[in-house]
Symmetry: C2
Subunit: 662 residues, 2 copies
């Protein structure tokens, strides 16, 4: 592999200009280097296993062939959904971020092939869309469903990645020609916008990369046009398309979750680059509302299968949660933009929750299969139509796998920022972090065994001469924090932004050791979440846990297990199929199988008693479904409180007997 020089590249995703509203700045260059631990493993697995698989699928599923047909201009039979081009674009973006760390011959070859194909397929005026060109549909006449600007947006994003990582110039040129065509077609001259956002943030990123203000203006136009019913109806109505309320008047995220959050990334990008504090505040308020009322414990969002959409407030079913993988990624992207704009750790908190759970769980342990839908419960025998709900290599609508790859390839960029003369570490991982700070170079080596261990060591490699700050996010879940500087205990309190900030004249060799409390804990739902009443979940550090059938004692159905709050014991180890993990055993009780026959409603409550004491076993949610595909629960029913077992003396034929409950 041939890696470019560290720092020789402009940076990663999201590069606010100097004029932008931006409390924090990304590090630039290649960003931190993941040097060990889970995140490094995920990134490597994606590059070594997932990405080569994606290239194979792009060749066999029709994506490349569609573009070849478009390039030939002779028509032919288009294959797949209208947005097949985006699978390629997201893969190209992943390759772009990968190549900042070094590329391989096959990745470089593929990039050249794709860039050449795109160049050939692009029409003289800059337009490029294999579906429209192969089928002969008229451009921009069905924007509610054609995804033409959505496809354009992903091309722009891929090009921006390559522009920032030394990729082929002609890919960037192709994207600019398309963007210029869009500007001349839409900017101030034509009403209309895409049913599926992403062009907004893509245009702002291209503006940041090129300095060409018309891209920012067009992004702004698309944001302002939304909510006025200009899009038309894709069959799911206007809320689905975020087109029922103007962005500035919208109080909460609604409709198709991925669309809603891709739009929000664009809204924040437009707001910060335009200095539009009101637009920014609106997006931040919707983020708060989403977190408070529409987010699963795993950080997953979009509770409805129907329309892949946000549900009503507090509609958060664990079994039916849709929680599309792409929506988790969209949430991650949106939070990062708000984190840069404001510097509030709550955004990094959510990013961590999403990363290790709602996102991390989408990938099989071996990197070969992916979830599209990420529920928090699966009953034995589950079916969604004919699908048993297990991970798959690829999908007929394959948006998620390459989206996962582009995030993992750029993951290190989301670890750290600077604000003035302070280096902020938002995510904990084995990583080398280097940046310019306070007029000098600041280099910090982060080590530890996060998330398995809560102990993190920050060793300063080099530091600027004057005082400067090193800040580490105190995760919201950490009950206690202890810290020591060069072995001396330190008062460890988070500042008002949620960070443990140490300011001093740092010396090479200084060691800041911090220990977060990752002991397993129970988490309870708000009473407003109807679907979770009477349950609790197990968490440990940033990891949400789940109880899979495979781990329970022989003969015990996970559906008959209730948790007894109190005893949680952890056991590090390696599980076949799963790999390294920390298992948690919880005090629990095994209930007798529920009464069969008649309606599942009865004139008397319960009737199952407190059950037989047992230990129930949980594994991290991100490691689920790597064994037998049977039942899984994140939220476990709670055992009855201790006290007389009110069911012990009930007569035969009483309570739950079939005779009584119809």
């Amino acid at each position: 592999m041939d890696a470019p020089e560290r720092g020789s590249l402009p940076g990663g995703p999201v590069r606010p200009t100097a004029r932008a509203i931006s409390a924090h700045r990304p590090l630039g260059g290649r960003g931190p280097e993941l040097s060990g631990g889970l995140l490094r493993d995920w990134q490597a697995r994606s590059r070594d296993v997932s990405l080569p698989m994606a290239l194979r699928h792009l060749r066999t599923a029709g994506n490349m062939e569609n573009l070849r047909l478009a390039a030939s201009g002779d028509g032919g039979v288009y294959r797949g959904p209208v947005f097949m081009d985006t699978d390629l674009y997201k893969t190209l973006e992943a390759i772009g971020w990968e190549q900042a760390r070094g590329t391989t011959a096959s990745l470089a070859e593929f990039t050249e092939e794709a860039a050449s194909l795109l160049e050939k397929a692009q029409q003289p005026d800059g337009y490029l869309n294999s579906y429209v060109q192969v089928t002969g549909q008229q451009r921009y006449t069905q924007l509610e469903r054609s995804h033409e600007l959505y496809c354009a947006g992903h091309l722009l994003q891929a090009a921006v990645a390559h522009a920032r990582t030394g990729g082929p110039a002609r890919l960037v040129d192709t994207a600019r020609r398309f963007a210029d065509h869009l500007a001349s077609t839409f900017l101030g001259t034509r009403e209309g916008l895409d049913g599926h956002p992403i062009i907004e943030t893509a245009l702002v990123e291209l503006y940041r990369e090129t300095g060409d203000g018309q891209y920012l203006q067009l992004a702004r136009q698309f944001v302002e046009e939304r909510g006025h019913g200009l899009i038309g109806d894709s069959g799911f109505g206007r809320r689905y398309l975020q087109d029922s309320v103007p962005v500035r008047e919208s109080a909460s995220v609604a409709g198709h979750a991925v669309r809603a959050l891709y739009l929000e990334s664009g809204v924040v990008d437009v707001a910060v680059e335009s200095g539009d504090a009101a637009l920014l505040a609106g997006s931040a308020a919707r983020w708060d509302d989403m977190v408070a009322t529409k987010t699963s414990l795993t950080g997953g969002i979009g509770s409805r299968h129907s329309g892949e959409a946000f549900g009503d407030a507090y509609e958060l079913p664990p079994d039916r949660a849709y929680n599309e993988t792409c929506a988790a990624i969209a949430s991650f992207h949106w939070s990062w933009r708000l984190l840069l704009a404001t510097g509030d750790s709550k955004y990094a908190d959510l990013m961590e929750r999403v990363l290790y759970n709602g996102f991390g769980g989408a990938i099989s342990a071996d990197g070969t299969r992916f979830f599209y839908v990420n529920p928090l419960q699966r009953r034995d025998g589950h079916f969604e139509n004919d699908d048993p709900g297990r991970r798959r290599e690829w999908f007929s609508c394959a948006c998620c796998p390459p989206n996962i790859m582009r995030l993992l390839a750029s993951l290190q960029h989301y670890l750290a920022t600077t604000a003035g003369d302070v280096l902020y570490l938002h995510q904990l991982a084995g990583a080398s972090v280097d940046t310019e700070l306070g007029g000098g170079a600041f280099g910090v080596e982060m080590t530890g065994d996060y998330p398995w261990s809560g102990a993190v060591e920050l060793r300063v490699r080099r530091a600027p001469a004057p005082d400067c700050g090193l800040a580490v996010r105190v995760p919201h879940w950490s009950g206690g924090v202890s810290a020591a500087l060069n072995g001396e205990p330190l008062a460890a309190r988070a500042d008002e932004h949620g960070y443990l900030l140490v300011r001093r004249c740092w010396q090479p060799g200084d060691v800041l050791a911090i220990t977060f409390d990752v002991r397993p804990r129970l988490t309870y739902p708000s009473r407003r979440v109807d679907a979770l009443r009477g349950t609790a979940a197990v968490e440990r550090g940033p990891l949400v846990y789940c109880f899979e059938q495979a781990d329970q004692p022989a003969g015990v159905s996970v559906e008959d297990v209730t948790l007894r709050p109190g005893g949680l014991r952890e056991r590090p180890g390696t599980l076949p199929g799963v790999g390294r993990t920390v298992v948690i055993e919880s005090d629990a009780a095994q209930l007798p199988p529920a009464a069969a026959g008649g309606l599942p409603y009865s004139p008397r409550p319960g009737g199952d008693g407190r059950g037989r004491p047992m230990s129930a076993v949980a594994v991290p949610y991100f490691q689920w479904d790597n064994r037998d595909g049977r039942g899984m629960r994140v939220w476990m029913p709670l055992s009855r409180p201790d006290g007389p077992d009110t069911t012990a003396g009930r007569e035969p034929g009483g309570a739950d007997s079939p005779a009584d409950i119809e």
Copy 2:
């Protein structure tokens, strides 16, 4: 109105032949006459308000015009879904059942117009389908989605209704020509069947009416062919179409709920007419499984919006329950067939539950609007795409309204049966019931104020000379039953089939008075129903109740109310918009509004305390959504048990404070 003579007509829906497996027999003729009470009111409202409205919509929505285009043979622009013909057929069936009691000029006129139009549109070989004929699509090439046999089935059912109620002969002739065409096309000669069942039961009914065995054979062929993947894929897979497992091997209902249960009606019809006890037992076993694992408290079925389908076992969310009105009707039809075959009161129990709740709630108090989806909870501000989830006059897919009308028009037929020399009363209502029994005429007048009152009086008008039995179903919900014969107390115990059976030499003037216990009661869910944990519902007699925002004390959100088991007080009265009702007040508590901000998950349970004592007000579920369209709940969270309020002493910043829960 011109009413035919009572008893001069062959009967109502489902007329097993003398050779059929059939523990019970329907009464025949016009069936019982609804003489007063809620069911009579519903039937009259449907005839006077709903049916005329349906005729208007059939003229304006395109149904009649589609057939006119088909009759003209000149093509044209077809309007609506492919099964538009069925809206007309179901309406014609409703008119058919209505005319047994008397018709109106406008109904008779419409029937003549429609019968003539169908005759003209029918092709020389008997084929008839406006969609296929107008669009020129090839017959039977897309049975997975074309609904051609589904449309045929509803035509046959309409014709059978008219054959049994003295409707126009040419409607029956049109249907027979189509059925003969189907037999010659499919019977033993062609594999393939419709993605949407109903042709099966329709063919058996036509066999019953005509004695032509080829219809029964064809129905049997369609039942046996199912589950072998012959249908193709409509986009939702094979389970959706009940095509993944042969009927004889299927253990539970699955896929699209209406399709699944229309098929089951056909399965039972084929089984009883073929003397196929194994086929019958399989359907009965699936019924048991459906009741135990896939039925809402209202009797509603099909929990998933996605695919309008059954979910997994115990997947019964109150808020997201789809519970399509047509599925409730299909359940009613299936249960009736199993009741006739077996004589087990559990089928009548479910029919009652469906009738007064899942079905009854689909119709607005004034009969002008209908639910397609019937959830058990609606949060304030609910949206399903752009739809706030209120009743509508009609739908672009208008399957439900005319389905409601055909059931209500034939409702009296489901009240009573005979078995040997016993007259069985399955549903309680103001009704005159007359039948031949034990070689004589048995006439009983049923009066009372059911379901508002549990007191029912059965006055014998005439009786045969020998001993005979009068049996009344003891509803499964009735805690106690008392009975008196001519004023003398009677031991009131249900027999093994669930009926209170009195056998004697009945005399005109004999009065059997029975009182069921309709006092309001709390009902609790099985622990297996995850979505209902920690809640209870209020029922009264056969009525499920619900808590609507409109009825709660000023300033109390229904989302902040918890029930305190114990005090339930009933209050008869009339509510504006709702009409006559019995309101129930429950001891309850008002919780403080849930903490805002941060994820709705916390390291400590609850935190809301026991709340402020109050009375919460419930109305029958069938009367919901006749006021302001705001929140509604059937299942209410339970208050904490009495005892020290563990939250009283919690520190500020503890428990639910936003700071702690992210």
